[in-house]
């Protein structure tokens, strides 16, 4: 009995440590993501190559599906399964294009991670600063990191000088839907048009 108990305790300890060994702190995760992006932006790549690399980074580190659901707000409850699947597909393409296009404009961004604030088991806010240049003032950037699965942290929002990009996108989507009599098709069309433009 004692042996079995000891073995059970041993296994629990081993597996809990094993799990910890593969988990990563949110601030380290953000810094590592920034470093990957900075390496891409600072390298000798063409704009198209840069954008492809950035898309790859986004697929691995950003909760695109989660942001997509959040951006739909209350509207997501009214969608049929077909509409939802179409939305997921087109949103992912839209997001990757928009994300890479925004970042591809920067070259050698210097971002320093300053601190983190664990809100709850699911979210940590990581604070960082984008160094100012001659043409741009210093910018405070916060990263909402989804930490529910400690082995697979994902970014859900960027808060720039206190302004949430996810919330801005949500309100933009809502405006498009509302100004088209609440039709989700209008948003899907806008997203598709953005992807091909």
């Amino acid at each position: 009995m004692n042996k079995k108990f000891t073995l059970a305790i041993f296994l629990i300890i081993v597996f809990s440590n094993f799990s910890k060994a593969y988990s990563i702190e949110a601030d380290v995760f953000v810094q590592s993501t920034i470093n990957r992006a900075a390496k891409t932006l600072g390298g000798n790549l063409s704009k198209e190559e840069r954008m492809e690399k950035l898309k790859e980074i986004a697929r691995e580190t950003v909760d695109i599906e989660g942001i997509g659901f959040y951006s739909l707000g209350a509207n997501r409850k009214n969608l049929t399964d077909d509409q939802l699947n179409e939305y997921k597909k087109v949103f992912s393409e839209y997001f990757l294009k928009s994300f890479s296009s925004r970042l591809a404009e920067y070259s050698n961004p210097e971002i320093e991670v300053n601190s983190k604030n664990v809100i709850n088991a699911n979210y940590t806010i990581v604070s960082s600063t984008l160094a100012g240049t001659d043409s741009r003032p210093e910018v405070k950037i916060e990263w909402r990191v989804y930490t529910k699965d400690p082995e697979n942290l994902l970014i859900r929002d960027l808060i720039i000088e206190g302004l949430s990009l996810a919330r801005t996108q949500k309100e933009e989507f809502s405006s498009i839907i509302n100004s088209n009599d609440g039709k989700i098709e209008a948003l899907l069309k806008n997203l598709s048009d953005f992807v091909v433009k």
Partner: protein, 261 residues
Amino acid sequence: MKKFLIISLVSLMLTSSANADTDGENNISNKNPGPVKDCFESVNRVTFKFNQVLDNIIFEPVAKTYRILPSPVRAGTGNALNNLSSLVTIPNNILQGEFVKAGVNTGRFVVNTTIGVVGIFDVAEKIGFPEYEKEDYGQTLGVMGVGAGCYIVLPVLGPSTVRDTAGSFANVLGGDAWYNVTVANDTQHVSDFDYWASRASTGINFRAKNIDSFNNLEKNSMDFYASVRSLYLQDRQRKIENSKATTETMDDGDWEEIESQ
């Protein structure tokens, strides 16, 4: 009678509770939280377009030219304009009951105006004064619990709310010492021109700092008008709550429902 009608109309718009076109997300008053309604959206969109044209023809080119100036010149201009804005910030600190901040900002103004040569050098920051935060009468009304009223886009001046527009009238009704000594009263040393030049410079300074961000936002927005509205209202909410902590101004409700893992 005319004054009464105007006051009644403004009061009605200020206190009107509303359901925003934006999913009811923008709550910008400390004590009277309620979503901000875009009551005049079609007119606002036209004004927004007009402002964009004006921006393309005048403000952006001027801001780009301004950005060519050496960095110390731009920094000095920005410092001097910030220093002037203290004259509005300090009375608002007092109205909001922030007496310590009012004292600190008065000290900052005295130090920067004298040793800092009319505010060109931010000496106060160098000697350890805390980071400067602007306040205005719209924010004070928000802190006092006055609702934002409808969202409006003003020609040339851009995004605002009825409350913030009403608040800005306080500047020209004696609430801004800089306006009082330049426009309202005839003094020998400063004139109307100085006031309007400082206002225009503030706008150009702001635009120059945000050229890339604005262009990036416009390029990547499907509805640029809605994006700007959202950003403006988020910014006002944060300023009214005098909050630096992201978690204090963000509503996690929707995030909590999303399970993608």
